[in-house]
């Protein structure tokens, strides 16, 4: 029982990160119908910026995170701006464009920070909380709290603000333009928020893992899987899917050891075969 619960806790902690990554994927997809393949690399850039300001500039962790979110958000805006001319011409090219951006971001990271990477010390140096023999890292609680807050803010933005409502409209119908909604701006905001979420995920995952230029790959694929599992384009789906992938991964690791990756993705594939639209699939948007 103890192993079961401890495994669950470990899974939820990385799962919360995957959920943030999945939310970024879904946000861009529901607005533009585009899979942003550079998203994993944007996470990596966010992790690097946060860790650089935290370690080299000695800023407080929260401030370093804020800087990372702003800078990375601007990178998101830039990516969208460069790809925008392609949107109404060739959507496949736009997709490939995001792959290209991913490669560029990784190369830029290697040029700026080198290929080897850095370890980020835990910013919350408090002993783990003990409950019934279970140990919960205080940092994990911080991650969960921030991830929850970010989710609530995003949902509030999408449902309660004019700009958010406009993005919902764009997501649902191309005819949004006819009622005076600036589609390009909505797309830019989607990319910006997606990148900001990526920076949040990257900054938070730094102290849990090891920041290096190729870290975006694993985080990207797990986050993407989470988004698909939850129902691509759905925000609640991204959260449930991301955490589900984290927990699934943790239990597969416990029971199948060396074969855990295989088991995780076989289970994932089976779920997707049974329910191709994911858990919250009915809300999935498809504009492409």
């Amino acid at each position: 029982m103890q192993v079961f619960l401890q495994t669950f806790i470990g899974g939820v902690s990385l799962g919360a990160i995957y959920a943030l990554v999945a939310m970024g994927f879904s946000l861009v997809f529901r607005t533009m119908g585009l899979v942003n393949f550079s998203h994993g690399n944007v996470v990596m850039i966010g992790a690097y910026i946060a860790s650089t300001f935290y370690l080299s500039a000695k800023l407080p962790f929260a401030l370093a995170m804020a800087v990372a979110i702003v800078v990375t958000g601007l990178i998101g805006v830039f990516i969208e701006r460069v790809l925008r001319p392609l949107e109404n011409k060739d959507f496949d090219l736009m997709l490939i464009g995001t792959i290209g951006f991913g490669i560029v971001l990784e190369a830029v990271a290697i040029i700026i920070w080198g290929a080897t990477g850095t370890a980020v010390p835990n910013p919350v140096a408090v002993a783990p909380v003990q409950v019934f023999g279970l140990r919960v890292r205080t940092y994990d609680l911080v991650v969960l709290a921030i991830a929850t807050a970010a989710t609530l803010l995003l949902v509030f933005f999408l449902q309660r603000t004019k700009r958010g409502a406009a993005m919902q409209a764009v997501a649902m119908d191309q005819a949004a333009t006819a009622v005076g909604i600036h589609v390009g701006r909505s797309n830019a905001i989607a990319f910006m928020l997606g990148a900001a979420l990526a920076a949040l995920a990257g900054g938070l995952v730094g102290p849990l893992l090891y920041v290096n230029p190729s870290m975006g790959g694993t985080l990207g694929i797990k986050g993407f899987a989470g988004a698909i599992l939850g129902g691509f384009g759905s925000i609640p789906g991204a959260i449930v899917g991301g955490i589900a992938i984290g927990v699934l991964d943790a239990f597969a690791a416990g029971h199948f050891q060396g074969y855990s990756e295989l088991v995780t993705f076989v289970v994932f594939t089976v779920i997707i075969m049974i329910r191709p639209t994911g858990i919250f699939g009915e809300r999935t948007v498809n504009r492409a």
Binding site: Q2, V3, Q6, T7, I9, G10, G11, S13, L14, F37, G40, N41, I99, G102, I103, E106, I110, A115, T116, G117, T118, A119, P121, N122, P128, Q130, R135, R137, L208, L209, Y210, N212, P213, S214, M215, G216, G217, T218, G220, I221, G246, D249, A250, F251, A253, G254, H255, Q257, G258, S260, E261
Partner: protein
Amino acid sequence: MSRFVRLRAAVLSLALAIPVALAACAAPGSGDDSKKSTEGPIKIALVDAQSGQLSSLGAWELKGARLAIDEWNAAGGVNGRQVELGVFDDQGDPTVGTNLARKISSEGYIAMIGTAESAVTIAMAPILRDSKIPNITSGQSPGLVAVKSPFLFLNGPTSTTYDETLAKYIVDTKGIKSIAMITNNGGYGKGEHDAFLKALQARSVTPVDDQVVTADQKDFSAALTTIRQKNPQVIFIGAEEVQSGLIVKQARDLGITAPFAGAAPQGTPVFASTAGVANIEATIVSSPYLSNDINDATKKFAAAYKAKYNEEAELHGAKAYDGTQILLTALKTSNVATGEKLAEAIRATKYAGLLGNFAFDDTGVGIFATAIGLIQGGKLVSAG
């Protein structure tokens, strides 16, 4: 390794592979001529991860090898010819490695330094054997010996030596029998797992727990909680630097206080910074190069390394330095031979290196001893 990158790499390499494949096809005939060239620089390839999670190994290895080559070149080269080092990035990926093996063969490199990853080296070995290119690797998996290639040499001991020394210290000297194991299923981790388990079995000790993780895994809650319940006195780790560091960090967060034990990766600064210096106290390390202060040769090497790169020398740089020195010595004694003759010259080279006295046997292993060190206050000190 990231699958995203691989996916992209696969797409990109479609375009790149065609010229490479053509060059590879042309290699058997045309390659021989360029190998026999007796003028111009001597071309040696260094293949290692220069990007990705294992790139710190590649960076150290490059520094060690380059230091040795620069010293020879400054002293007039090998028999009057300068040595040229070509650097290739294998990304820690066996597929990339095999492509590079064909590439260095077709481009006329006569010998190869690297890689630092056993799995990559094992993948490259058959191609290098067919192309008759001697290879001095920094890998230490017993799987390298199992390849039985006469062109493959190791610049350090195998896991068998590392782990035999470790088991001897833990079980025989310290009398500890309650040992748990956590290893990854990659080339290095598998070698460590088998070698340490064999050393324990030889002492009639059964590990209280034997956890295997994947080389990509980031969360070890399940494995570590299971280990914690068995309450071992020592936990053996067989994983690369970063992953070992993450395992130790998470273990301490889960309340495991037992010391860890392992081979080369546990003695590195990357392991220390990933785990956190306070978390690695009392780690037991089996290494052929415990510190830069072993003797005059290591002090001299460490000083030159520091002067050139402004950082402290460590095991992997030292290993690559030794390996490169052996290769260059063999080139000198064989009057810049290639192929089988060069391999024979390497095997015949007796070399007093930083790690000890090298004398290669038929398996390509030249050194058979490691020493035990303990991490105290973040520094590795001899347990002697």
